[in-house]
Symmetry: C2
DNA sequence: CTGAAAGCGCTAACAA
DNA sequence: TTGTTAGCGCTTTCAG
């Protein structure tokens, strides 16, 4: 903890008043010119804009936000900033929000509700106009805090019958079931799952196993890997699965990176993919199409999730009633390439 | 652009005054209890803290920042949020800043100064207490803006004799030269570079070529790939290099993902690595150690860059003179594994 | 179409 | 140790 010294005495910043004086108008007119230019006649507008240029005026959004009760800030909390899974979503969020004049404030919760609670507490102090969360598993405390502060909330990347507020995602259970049927449909019977330690992956795994059971297949083996999942985890997992007496002929990995590890180890051991083992990933990362063999994987439109989440936040801020912003299931698809 | 409606009439938020009334003290005492608890006697402190709990008070950092002229916000602008290269840096920045009570505000400039200028403009409106940039190539406008607004700035991931303010990085020219000597030292003579389109990678490439020239080697071929670099780009690049009449026996890739692509294509074509071609990556991503063969790569301590950058911002905010916060070269190393 | 007054929620500066 | 006063920079509100 650093000891706080008095703030540096930067020269007093230029304010609307400085601009107003130079333009020969009132502060209000400057404010209007900046925020609702169409409500100011062109002649005045130009004088003000010239004065803004001349004074190098930079609006203070802290003051704007305080007075107007709109920070023009939307917070997004993702499990891992580095994770490529969410980067399309973050990208789309940023872009769509920017078009509407909002900035995105990113936070990383690090999987699990403990980090999320602390982050949420910190974030709310900045008075965001909206909050976007990944996942639907939040602590009681988080739900109360969010419900209490009246900020629009969108949960993403999952579905639940009881969202905090708004919802854009897809069913992880459906993913697990679909991939299981997909592999079984290729005649594979000794299935397995390699799964990172996160709640959504666990949901996919569970449905995968239930579906295997329903299809009369042997119970799939499960190898757990720590998050974040790496290529090394995938290689280890395949070695572990090959050591099993039952053997394995179809593997569902909870990330493409894990799947790439499985492919790498298979190639290293001379095991034919998809001949002897079929491999399915999750995420359709940029490398999936170019892996050897090309990776069959679950494709989710992360950009659409981000875009729709942004639209919902913006809509709610603009006063749209809940009925106009229904929960959205963006679905998923199994993108078939060579590996299965 | 969404039309702005009047802000939602959320119930008036609880303020320091509400807490003060309940605790039977003044607003100032509440403020002190929150910000400098050691300056309030334990008895008072406890009464206030109880009142904070009871009222569910959440401080408004917009107001704090406006009044105290300290937003407790540090902005970081990185070329690509998704890029795993910077994730250690962002992680360390976040952690070190958080310890000192600062939040990190992340922005993505998307390589190239155009995006950076716009983002910078937007960011400064939030009145950050410090700004961390990746790279040292900034537009004239950006440099002026930053110098003018008096905010501490740290440039990172590169070195320059003329930083805007503070600097934590390493020499990309040295990297290019070192890798060239490394490959040449293995007796490889027909060298090549596969490079993403970014300024720092270009600097490494240039030094690589200059060093090859100095060593009396043939001019290395260069294959450019768009950013962000992918495994597919790496595969394509190797195919292109193999089609060259001169041939190739050593390749320096500007990212580990490109290198993984080169390895993949080499394996696919039955080309021995490191036997026939040596491959060196950049970044030491988590997958590098587990690639087949394990990837020799340039390792940079991204976490240290983030940590040191944070220390510099905090130090400058606390009033430390420039002399106490010298430019720092964190260096790099070539992490030798099997691929070269 | 424009401006004057007031105040968002908080803390710096001073006084007691 | 505590409180009072004032005002950060902006925009809401209402009157001209």
């Amino acid at each position: 903890m650093t000891r706080l010294l008095p703030p540096p005495d930067r020269q007093r910043a230029t304010t609307v008043l400085d601009v107003a004086r130079l333009a020969g108008v009132s502060a209000m007119t400057v404010s209007r010119t900046l925020n609702q230019p169409q409500r100011v006649p062109p002649a005045t507008r130009q004088r003000v804009q010239a004065a803004v240029q001349a004074t190098q005026y930079v609006p203070n959004l802290l003051a704007c936000g305080l007075r107007s009760r709109r920070s023009r800030l939307v917070a997004a909390i993702v499990p891992a900033l580095g994770s490529p899974v969410f980067s399309d979503t973050v990208q789309a969020l940023t872009a769509t929000l920017a078009e509407a004049g909002y900035h995105l404030m990113l936070g990383q919760s690090g999987y699990g509700p403990a980090g999320e609670d602390a982050l949420l507490q910190a974030v709310i102090r900045r008075r965001p106009d909206g909050i976007v969360l990944v996942g639907v598993d939040h602590s009681r405390q988080a739900r109360d805090t969010l419900a209490g502060c009246g900020v629009p909330v969108v949960e993403t990347w999952d579905l639940t019958p009881a969202p905090i507020d708004m919802l854009v995602g897809f069913s992880h259970a459906d993913v697990g079931a679909a991939v299981c049927r997909f592999l079984a449909g290729q005649g594979r019977r000794r299935l397995a799952v390699v799964s990172g330690a996160d709640a959504r992956a666990a949901r996919r795994t569970q449905a995968f196993q239930a579906t295997a059971h329903a299809l009369g297949l042997p119970t799939p083996a499960v190898v757990e890997a720590e998050a974040p999942t790496t290529l090394g985890h995938g290689r280890q997992a395949l070695r572990a699965l090959l050591a099993l007496p039952a053997g394995v002929d179809g593997i569902f990995c909870s990330s493409d990176m894990l799947a790439l590890g499985v492919l790498t180890e298979a190639a290293h051991q001379g095991i034919a993919v998809p001949g002897r083992i079929g491999v399915v990933g999750f995420g359709d990362q940029p490398f999936a199409a170019d892996a050897e063999p090309a990776l069959t994987t679950v494709r989710v439109d992360g950009a659409r999730i981000g875009h729709e989440a942004a639209l919902r936040v913006i809509g709610r801020i603009a006063g749209a009633p809940a009925a106009e912003l229904p929960a959205l299931d963006v679905g998923f698809s199994i993108f078939t390439r060579r590996s299965a």
